[in-house]
């Protein structure tokens, strides 16, 4: 009997099809027309330019006028270019170095703020840097960190005899990284806190009764129960970090002048190719750098999703 029943199962889809009412059928017919505008839009503004960028990267092009086929020339030149190596190293420093700092700070703040009085206010304060455009901060910091600026005079009044020259060439990249950390930490703290707020308080109370310290509670309750959010944040950070651009450009460059090559990232490298201060624009190499950024973003996103996805999603 059982065998017979199993044999009959293939007929089930037919039964389901019979179950589609006129309403459901009409709904399904409408998927196409509703999807189309978005798809057309997406194709026009995202897919076509991306494919075009890949095409440009195999050519030499001044941004208008005739294109000249270059094959892999732009890629080989880029890989052999020491400045590109530096840009790569800088981008990785931001991705992993700043990323680690941002996540550690965000974790610690989430842990500390979870049970704090006035946490809403603190959360607003922590989030504030994210509201101010990076450009404004980059400009303001120029004044703040000047040898005659506020930061140095405060340190001097606190008795520090020789405050660091924040904007000196040897410190500049560290300052840039610190600035980016400060900008991003607040955003991620707020996201983590929102995720942690969903966790029922009873878990924490039970753990506390069992004698778990704040750190243990964080590690064994908050982290596993916000793991999916942390995963999404990691992906967002990776994408943002690989595209780091305007902060460096405004912080270290000036009108008509590129930042020193020691500070370049992928995006600055691409920008310098397409918009040199003096010479002929080279959209080919700029596009090659952009394509590489795109590939790295995809690879990194997949990687992060894979690593983070190993942990089971917890429902409660």
């Amino acid at each position: 009997m059982a065998v017979r029943l199993l044999e009959r199962t293939p007929a089930r889809p037919a039964v389901r099809r019979e179950g589609v009412g006129p309403f459901e059928a009409a709904r399904r017919r409408m998927i196409g027309p509703f999807l189309l505008p978005a798809l057309v839009c997406y194709t026009l503004v995202m897919i076509v330019p991306s494919v075009f960028t890949v095409w440009i990267s195999f050519n030499d092009w001044a941004g208008a006028g005739p294109m000249e086929w270059a094959g892999l020339g732009n890629y080989t030149e880029m890989v052999a270019d020491p400045v590109f190596g530096r840009s790569f190293a800088n981008t990785m420093k931001i991705l992993f170095g700043v990323g680690a700092a941002v996540f550690v700070i965000a974790f610690v703040l989430t842990m500390l703020l979870q049970d704090m009085a006035g946490r809403k206010f603190v959360r607003a304060v922590v989030f504030f840097p994210s509201l101010v455009p990076g450009l404004v901060i980059a400009i303001l910091w120029g004044f703040l960190l000047d040898p005659d600026g506020l930061a140095t005079s405060v340190l001097k009044s606190l008795g520090v005899p020789d405050p660091p020259l924040w904007l000196a060439p040897e410190n500049m990249f560290t300052t840039v990284m610190a600035g980016m950390t400060w900008l991003a930490a607040g955003t991620y703290t707020v996201i983590f806190m929102a995720a942690a707020d969903r966790i029922p308080r009873t878990f924490y109370e039970a753990a506390e009764l069992d004698g778990a310290s704040a750190a243990r509670r964080f590690w064994h309750i908050t982290v596993p129960l916000t793991w999916d959010v942390i995963g999404v944040c990691a992906v967002l950070w990776a994408i943002g970090a690989l595209k780091t651009f305007e902060f460096v450009l405004v912080f270290a460059g000036a009108a008509g002048s590129l930042p020193p090559t020691d500070l370049w990232t992928f995006s600055v490298y691409a920008y310098a190719g397409a918009f040199p201060s003096d010479g002929v624009p080279r959209y080919g190499i700029a596009s090659a750098a952009a394509v590489l950024t795109m590939v790295l973003t995809v690879v990194l996103t997949l990687l992060v999703r894979r690593v983070m996805g190993r942990r089971e999603r917890t429902d409660y």
Binding site: P37, A62, A64, P82, L165, A255, S257, P260, D262, V280
Partner: protein
């Protein structure tokens, strides 16, 4: 579908945006590199209004600011370019604009007469600036009307003796710096955050010592061995001395541009090597009674370096709807009447030799008019400069490496650079 319709509408609008509205009305559209309210903008606007009155051709001017050329270039991919005239400096127009192969050759404008005058545009502009307006392919892509160069700026009130007798040699200048240092001053202003500015000393020393052609032959040298020449070492040694001389204010490379030039104008240092546009930039920060004066770079090893020049002028795209009237406007703007205003209102230097410069920079204009111009500065080495020369020249000026280290590293890195180009 509303979004789709909107996109189509936007596309149509942008495509037709600048088009002449039919009928017999003639008009030209100018994309200017000046912004509303700038003195230069006022001069150009006045000329445009007069041109309209005299010729009946309507001039629509869009004040795009310094990125006029940069924003204009992508439009060359379309059939309807939004301007008949685009304003930019010679490098933008002979390199970036010319590279698109969409720039109109303006040789015939040079043969035309300046509006209401006997002299041709070619005679008025002069051969040196015309060459600077010509692309590597020999296309004349610009007609300049204004020039700028660099000078050693100082406060004429603080150094009245230098107004009439500026230092003629680098040794005299160094003695002056030492005298100021002895008074406890840090005499040299310098925005060390701008690599281009930091390389100027080296470049001037080297051009004086090895000639303009000698210096400009170094960057294209694929072996990189040119950088090992004793002349380069000599120039680099002079920079090393400058770096170690204690002339620059503390932390001059730890500030953000334009902090140092503003501090210089405030009287914190005495001399600043900058472009002739400097007085306009720093005037609001200048100490009371500050009298801007400038002298040219003193002689190095017995030879005064020629002046580096940037010209400002117009280019016309091949796809311009009204190229003929655009050309007329160019010849119209070169009239003495407007060029005098370039000098008196905009406080800039005109290409015209018969228009004196403002007293602040009169000395430099004289040198320019006599033709002492860096004529070898036509090779496009921008990429090499920003990737190889500037990082090392920064380290040299900041005292991080010696002159000898500079030359050997330049040779190595130049060779590596050219190797990466295949």
């Amino acid at each position: 579908m509303k979004v789709g319709a909107a996109i189509v509408a936007v596309c149509l609008l942008t495509a037709c945006g600048g088009q002449a509205s039919g009928g017999g009305d003639r008009e030209i559209t100018v994309w200017s590199m000046w912004s509303e309210g700038e003195p230069n903008q006022k001069v150009l606007a006045e000329a445009a209004a007069d041109f309209e009155k005299e010729t009946g051709v309507k001039v629509r001017t869009q004040w795009k600011g310094r990125t006029a050329v940069k924003t204009f270039l992508p439009s060359l991919n379309t059939d309807h370019v939004p301007a008949d005239l685009v304003e930019g400096n010679n490098r933008e127009l002979t390199r970036q604009f010319a590279a698109t192969k969409a720039a109109l050759d303006l040789s015939d404008v040079y043969q035309a007469k300046v509006h209401g005058e006997q002299a041709t545009v070619a005679e008025t502009v002069g051969e040196a600036y015309r060459r600077m307006a010509t692309s590597a392919d020999g296309v004349v892509t610009q007609v300049p009307y204004q020039v700028s160069t660099y000078g050693w700026f100082f406060n004429g009130k603080a150094f009245p003796e230098l107004v009439t007798a500026p230092p003629k040699t680098w040794e005299e200048f160094t003695a002056l710096l030492e005298a100021q240092k002895a008074k406890g001053r840090k005499p040299l202003g310098q925005d060390g955050s701008i690599p281009n500015y930091n390389a100027r000393y080296l470049e001037h020393f080297a051009r004086a010592i090895m000639g303009d052609e000698g210096w400009h032959a170094l960057a294209p040298d694929r072996t990189g061995r040119g950088w090992l020449k004793p002349e380069v070492l000599q120039a680099a040694t002079m920079v090393e001395k400058l770096a170690k001389g204690g002339y620059f204010p503390d932390g001059f490379n730890a500030t953000k541009f334009p902090a140092m030039q503003q501090k210089w104008a405030g009287g914190e240092s005495d001399f600043l090597y900058q472009g002739t546009y400097l007085p306009k930039e720093v005037a609001p920060y200048a100490a009371p009674g500050f009298e801007f004066r400038a002298f040219r770079f003193p002689a190095v090893a017995g030879k005064t370096p020629t002046l580096n020049v940037t010209t400002t002028g117009f280019g016309i795209p091949k796809k311009a709807r009204n190229a003929a009237d655009a050309k007329r406007f160019v010849a119209f703007f070169l009239q003495r009447k407007y060029q005098e205003k370039v000098s008196t209102v905009a406080l800039e230097m005109s290409v015209r030799k018969d228009v004196p410069a403002a007293p602040q920079i009169a000395d430099l204009k004289k040198a320019l008019d006599s033709g002492e111009i860096n004529k070898a500065d036509v090779v496009d080495s921008g990429d090499f400069t920003s990737k190889v020369l500037l990082p090392l020249s920064d380290q040299l000026l900041f005292g991080k490496i010696s002159a000898a280290e500079f030359t050997t590293r330049m040779a190595e890195q130049a060779a590596a650079y050219w190797k990466s180009k295949g």
